[in-house]
């Protein structure tokens, strides 16, 4: 449309406008801000964690939802997954550089919400 010179366009018609359902970035935004995605990303900020550790730290998440959430985040390149060949196999998850980059504003977001709602600021 605009004819501006960009180094490369992956596909004609792909729009990098997250308000449009055909924007590739929208999937990632949706995963990051999904019902459980936020909690997984925040949990992994301080430490790499095993599957069961993640499950224990996020109250209310089912095993199925956690597996599904992790799969999406791994696909997006936000989380890495490492399988140690033990019996039973140990699976560890951690944040990639991209995940760490996203985790910063996400943590800021939560800090602001909890600060605002904390009893110390309610009076």
């Amino acid at each position: 449309m605009t004819g501006s010179a960009q180094p490369r366009q992956p596909e004609a018609g792909v729009r990098y406008d997250v308000f449009h359902t055909d924007c590739p970035a929208r999937d990632v935004v949706d995963h990051v801000t999904s019902r459980w995605g936020v909690w997984v990303l925040i949990s992994l900020r301080s430490n790499d964690l095993r599957f069961y550790e993640l499950r224990e730290s996020i109250q209310g998440i089912s095993e199925k939802m956690l597996a599904q959430t992790l799969r999406a985040l791994v696909q997006d390149g936000l989380v890495w997954r490492e399988v140690e060949p033990a019996t039973p196999p140990q699976v560890t998850y951690g944040l990639t550089e991209f995940g760490r980059d996203i985790g910063e504003p996400l943590t800021e977001l939560f800090d602001r919400i909890t600060q605002r709602l904390s009893p110390r600021n309610a009076g």
Copy 2:
């Protein structure tokens, strides 16, 4: 438990730990990062908007989901709602101070995702 001196405790047993389902802040975090909450908050960052304008700017949202999302955000104190007595009544939505405070890290989050996924950085 810890016996630390805090100015006031709203209710015994209320935990300000967003990883727990009984944390009052968790509802707000869930609304902010809900399927549509993020898009509404981001849309309102630049301008106050009418209901139909919000609907037009967020592709894929239904009227029902938009109404539901707005109701939750108004209840949380993130968005205000103003009805002008016209025929038909004009309803306008905008960000409260709390909403604006949250909008900052939320925008930062989206900027980082779109920057990372934009074709200019993919090569």
